[in-house]
């Protein structure tokens, strides 16, 4: 039995965010070295601002400007920063209540070591040199010294209006997985490497699964008996693809078909070649065409046999 396979899988996408009026003002403000909060129905100032009151659910639009100095309300030392974290040298994650605000903002503090950080310490914003309208426009916080403690600034009303406001941002996301397809697919792939298609028979309903999933989804029992199917099969149904799919290097039009390999209990999917696309039909008999480097057949081509009778494959549609 071959060892189960694993491979790395990276999923990444540059998601876009429509900011709405409040986040738009907040992020544009950061670009202009201005920190905005929002005043709630009970008079508290929330920084960062939110669109709806957490207590009353009312829409919040009363923006206020708060200070760029504040007080650390709690913190955690990060001795080994990971790629894409805000700083490349060890830093503290901090919650900072800016002067004039009633809630704290999550950011990072540039400090030489954990002994230099304490709850209650005074800090100030260090602005990034290049600012675009993002929370990273605050490069980090830095110690401000206790002399600033008296500056308990009151939040001042602000229209939130700036020239060329930021209305949307791009948020790239990246997830890294180790993907394991499991024993059944590993067995299947080992067979394909020898250009044999090995399905697995359900001990209960006797149907043959290709590709095998390790269990019969109808009967809920494990499938272990391997059964070689094909290589020939029947086109049960298909469509003609006229638009290029992203990331697929196939000339259009082409035929994407469901193919029931001889002996299989359900159809698998493949491309039909070796015949003009408009001559492909349900019932066409086909066989796989391999390339030297492919894990799967490159496509299927007609065998030249007479077409299968509809009754022989209609249960597989």
């Amino acid at each position: 039995m071959p060892e189960p396979l694993t491979a790395s899988l990276v999923v990444e996408f540059p998601f876009t965010r429509s900011l709405g009026p409040v986040q738009s003002a907040f992020l544009t403000g950061l670009r202009e070295r201005t920190v905005l909060g929002v005043r709630t129905g009970d008079g508290r100032v929330l920084v960062p601002p939110v669109e709806y009151d957490p207590v009353t659910a009312q829409e919040l639009r009363d923006l206020v400007e708060v200070g760029t100095t504040g007080t650390v309300t709690t913190w955690a030392w990060n001795p080994s920063p990971r790629p894409q974290q805000p700083m490349s040298t060890p830093f503290a994650w901090v919650l900072v209540r800016l002067d004039g605000a009633d809630t704290a903002l999550l950011h990072v503090l540039d400090a030489p070591g954990p002994e230099a950080v304490r709850t209650g310490m005074r800090v100030r914003v260090r602005w990034a040199e290049r600012r675009t309208g993002a929370v990273t426009d605050i490069a980090c916080f830095e110690p401000a010294g206790d002399g600033t403690a008296a500056a308990a600034a009151r939040a001042a009303a602000h229209t939130g209006a700036f020239t060329e406001p930021v209305t949307g941002i791009t948020v790239p996301a990246r997830l890294e997985y180790t993907y394991a397809p499991g024993r059944a697919q590993s067995r299947y792939l080992a067979g394909l490497a020898e250009r044999r298609t090995l399905g697995e028979r359900c001990p209960s309903c006797r149907k043959v699964y290709v590709p095998p999933r390790g269990a019969c989804p109808t009967c809920g029992v494990a499938t272990e008996e391997q059964v070689e199917v094909g290589p020939r099969g029947t086109v049960t149904t298909y469509c003609i693809v006229n638009i290029k799919a992203k990331g697929l290097d196939i000339e259009v039009p082409y035929v994407y078909a469901h193919i029931a390999l001889d002996g299989a209990g359900l159809a698998l999917h493949g491309r039909i070649g070796g015949i003009p696309y408009d001559q492909v039909r349900m019932g066409l008999r086909v066989e796989p065409v391999w390339t030297s480097d492919g894990r799967y057949p490159d496509h299927y081509r007609p065998t030249g046999e007479p077409d299968a009778d509809y009754d022989t494959y209609k249960e597989l549609l």
Partner: protein
């Protein structure tokens, strides 16, 4: 008085939608859901304080790239200090979400529940989200339309339907959408000829026979019998609700008429006391993302004998003025914020029996079916709503 015996009757007393469109760059996700929820509350003559719990649904998180967005939407939905629950069943999720909310009222866990579903497709690319390259697996060679097109061909072969039927569905739904101010597509100059001559994307599916990609949200306020009785506006009573699922692929799966869909319909009709859906149901909002799914679902849902669904479409029975109007709102073919699409079906069914569907109202609709499906034709959710109390 039935006291605590049996299920609590459930009433739909408020419905709200956004004006669906391809991109709502002017609002955040919170702002989008807020619009629909606010309109539903106004429709119900209620305030946030009247709501006991919120049940929210959407399609995969990859569609916006916000993991568990329901957590940050509590403020926008007035849910702080209340239970919030997220439902996820792929494209059928809007229907399943409404049914979970219904269950909470029917079981007397909560008296009044706000239920909402949304998608903001402009924040990402659903086609990308649905076709992540999985190691060792053969990539799907065709995209979403290509996944469903072979099943349409199988339907045509099985029933002998002429290849002109799909265009009739698209032409009807796009015309119906012109009467619905909330619909995404408003193709004022639509003609049957334009549908028929639109590009063939995944033969046999043409461009005009596919659904758009939309930003949108839909919300409903559900409440108990006492709430329904004293509601100042018209009420839709829930007469039955059911969900069924089956695997994406298995030996013996009928992609043209999945068993899970047939079983789900049978269950919901039994609950609603419906023995002849074709005669008893006055309007249908079914999930038709590709035109041919109308005749396919007409058979799957028992409105036509096997092989006969296309004849209802072809003879005009499913037109707005036919005797079984299907998708008077314009349907998924005209509006598709994926996660919300199922709830829009359910909500539009409720609007019909409340008599509040406006320009696309079916005259005298008393009983309506809302239907949703998702995944590889594997998740089904349906409800039947009526203008009359289910016990009367």
């Amino acid at each position: 008085m039935s006291a605590v015996h049996g299920k609590e009757p459930v009433a739909v007393v408020g419905v709200g939608q956004t004006h669906h469109t391809s991109a709502r760059h002017d609002v955040s996700i919170a702002g989008l859901v807020r619009e629909a929820a606010h309109r539903a509350l106004v429709d119900a003559s209620m305030t946030w304080a009247d709501v006991d719990a919120v049940v929210i649904g959407k399609a995969p998180d990859f569609f916006e790239g916000v993991m568990m967005p329901e957590l940050y939407l509590a403020d926008a939905l007035g849910a702080v200090g209340k239970p919030v629950m997220r439902v996820h069943t792929a494209g059928s999720v809007g229907g399943s979400t409404a049914l979970v909310a219904t269950s909470l009222v029917a079981a007397r866990v909560h008296r009044t529940v706000l239920t909402l579903a949304f998608e903001k497709q402009s924040e990402s690319n659903a086609m990308w989200g649905l076709s992540l390259p999985v190691p060792f697996q053969q990539p799907l060679l065709a995209g979403a339309g290509g996944f469903f097109a072979p099943h349409v061909r199988a339907y045509m072969r099985r029933t002998g339907a002429p290849d002109t039927v799909g265009a009739l569905v698209a032409y009807k739904d796009r015309r119906n959408a012109l009467r619905n101010p909330y619909a995404h597509l408003h193709e004022k100059d639509i003609t049957l000829e334009k549908v028929r001559s639109s590009p063939m994307l995944w033969d046999p599916i043409r461009y005009s026979e596919t659904c758009p990609s939309s930003d949108g949200a839909c919300a409903m306020v559900l409440t108990d019998e006492a709430g329904g009785r004293r509601a100042p506006g018209p009420v839709a009573w829930v007469h039955g609700g059911a969900m069924r699922s089956e695997p994406t692929m298995f030996a013996g799966k009928d992609f043209v008429s999945p068993r899970a869909g047939r079983d789900c319909a049978a269950d919901v009709y039994r609950q609603a006391g419906i023995t002849d859906p074709r005669r008893q149901i006055d309007a249908v909002e079914m999930y038709v993302p590709f035109s041919w799914y109308e005749p396919m679902w007409l058979e799957n849902l028992g409105f036509a004998q096997e092989g006969e669904g296309w004849k209802l479409t072809e003879s005009g029975v499913t037109e707005l003025d036919g005797d079984l109007p299907v998708n008077p709102s314009g349907g998924v073919l005209s509006t598709n914020p994926i996660g919300a699409s199922g709830m829009i079906r359910f909500a539009e069914a409720a609007l019909q029996v409340r008599g509040t569907a406006g320009g696309h109202q079916v005259d005298g609709a008393r009983l309506a079916l809302g239907h949703a499906y998702g995944g590889g034709s594997q998740f089904f959710a349906m409800w039947v709503v009526g203008s009359g109390h289910p016990g009367e």
